[in-house]
Symmetry: C2
Subunit: 340 residues, 2 copies
């Protein structure tokens, strides 16, 4: 048993607006041999996710803020390199919340670690399509959106890790699916996974233009809008929504870097007359769906109904770049950092 050296990322300063490289600070620490009840893990993959932007602010939220000078947290997948815990053996694959670092030693519970099953699915997918983003897509779409066969589902951020999974589950449920994403490469990707109509939001610089594009793409109106973006997308979805439409609010990436409050949809009044349901959610409220989610994904992935893409940055030193790239739309599918 040896000590592992771990390069790790701390928050150097709270970002104002778009995060910058010097908001991050690399530290180095040691992951020692495990004491009784602990495991030592070398991370192979770490996740960067839009929600982390919220934890960089000093405000009350559903998760506490990152502290300046302390190593950040996030999803990671790695292998046990030493174990002093009865349930874990060297070589076990574990997911944990001890990302933003190369290695760690801790009791599994303290790192929110879980032993992962042996599957033909690649390890990295446990941070994406069969991990937190996948469950987010599954829970929000099926529990809040509750799409019925033949209905129209509109998804923003459709080429991202959550969005692309939403699109494919909606197709598996027999829906007409419209995806919004930025640029032709993402549009091609969306068509390749079966999305019926693609909106390139970069071609629509105001809400009226986006609304017109959505109305064109959704001649029967929108029954479910899965919101990853907020802002103009939410306003357009409300405008084109059918009576009784459901809108799972998963994230509002258009606003994460706003330096002040941003106006909400200017047509909220339509929510009354159209009997719309707008419902925010966080994936941790839906962990009871995990068994059914894994079961369904185990059908859909090998059967080709759910495909996934990854955008991979190599090496811990690239982690801030990967994170910042989320907000300029640089990822196709799940954004990941490969650590080992």
């Amino acid at each position: 048993m040896t000590t592992l050296t771990s390069r790790e990322w701390a928050l150097a300063s709270r970002p104002v607006g778009m995060p910058k490289a010097d908001d991050f600070q690399m530290l180095t620490s040691e992951a020692p041999a495990p004491a009784d009840g602990q495991i030592q893990v070398r991370n192979e993959w770490m996740s960067v996710d839009p929600y982390m932007r919220g934890r960089m602010m000093d405000r009350e939220s559903y998760v506490p803020p990152f502290q300046i000078g302390e190593v950040m947290q996030g999803g990671a997948v790695g292998r046990v390199t030493a174990s002093a815990h009865a349930d874990y053996a060297v070589g076990d694959l574990v997911s944990s919340f001890a990302g933003w670092r190369e290695a760690w030693t801790a009791p599994p519970e303290a790192a929110m670690a879980q032993k992962l099953p042996q599957t033909p699915i690649p390890d990295s997918a446990f941070l994406g399509v069969v991990g937190m983003p996948g469950l987010t897509a599954y829970a929000g779409l099926l529990e809040i959106g509750a799409p019925k066969e033949g209905e129209t589902v509109f998804v923003s951020g459709a080429a991202g890790a959550v969005g692309a999974t939403v699109c494919q589950i909606a197709k598996a449920k027999g829906c007409h699916v419209i995806g919004s994403a930025g640029g032709p490469e993402k549009g091609e990707f969306l068509k390749s996974i079966g999305v019926d109509a693609v909106i390139d939001y970069r071609a629509h610089t105001d809400a009226a233009s986006l609304t017109a594009a959505l109305a064109d793409a959704a001649p029967k109106g929108v029954d479910v809008y899965f919101d990853n973006v907020g802002g103009d997308h939410l306003q357009a979805a409300i405008a084109v929504a059918n009576q009784g439409a459901r809108m799972p609010l998963c994230g509002m990436i258009s606003q994460y870097n706003a330096t002040g409050p941003t106006p909400g949809p200017n047509n909220m009044i339509m929510a009354v007359g159209k009997s719309l349901k707008l419902q925010g959610f966080i994936v941790s409220n839906y962990s009871h769906l995990q068994p059914q989610f894994i079961k369904d994904m185990s059908d859909w992935i090998p059967g080709g109904k759910v495909q996934f893409r990854e955008t991979v940055h190599e090496g811990i030193d690239k982690a801030p770049d990967a994170f910042m790239g989320l907000f300029t739309g640089q990822n196709l599918g799940k954004m990941l950092v490969k650590l080992a």
Copy 2:
């Protein structure tokens, strides 16, 4: 059997912003003796309601717009004066949708007429607390808001027909109730019906001040917000909402007379992190609750748990004044016009 002369109100022009007297035009017509299958009714009461403002606009909605030059529609209660329909006898009390007029002759179905039961409740209450506004309050609060004992319920437009009923049902369910209304007279009324804390919104001219007042009144946060007002009230409620709060969106009277789109809440992003549910509804989706509603109200009203107030204008010629008064807060409880 005689012909009745009926004075009636048509829309003379579509209001721009706040409705004005010359947007309305009085006509006179005859309600003839009923033909086979028809009834002749003299209206005793007619209702004016905020939702009618929407029907004055030429836009697609859940009910078709009023047409210029045609007599408007709305809730009314009257007595049968002649009948050629087997189910109706002279003297029967009927509710109908044939308001904005003194008398009418039609098949009952065409006027959406219903024979009302003999009760100790005054006739006018069938346009208010045991009518459409009462069912609106009941359905929105209990089905969407789903308040639990001990929770905090915030109601805007709290001294109106819907709002005052919401407040009292919430008290009957054991909740801490905060009501917002304009001016000291309404505040006294709300306290008299058991509301725990009153916010006079006229003392709070911006969203920040209203939010601070709500935070003071709701030290444990808001679990249910019943929205009759929209605008700053909705933004304040989102700011002070607890995790998992429910927000039935019943109306947005602050915006009914807006001449352009008005910005939505600038903190919609909180709906994600707080897992909020914002759900618009219209009472016609909840007619299946009618039997239970009448049963509960028949307990609550005689038992004093639900009291009601009315603001009455006398005579058909006052109907536009009554309607316009809704938007300047002139009503305490249900706004009505007494016709006979």
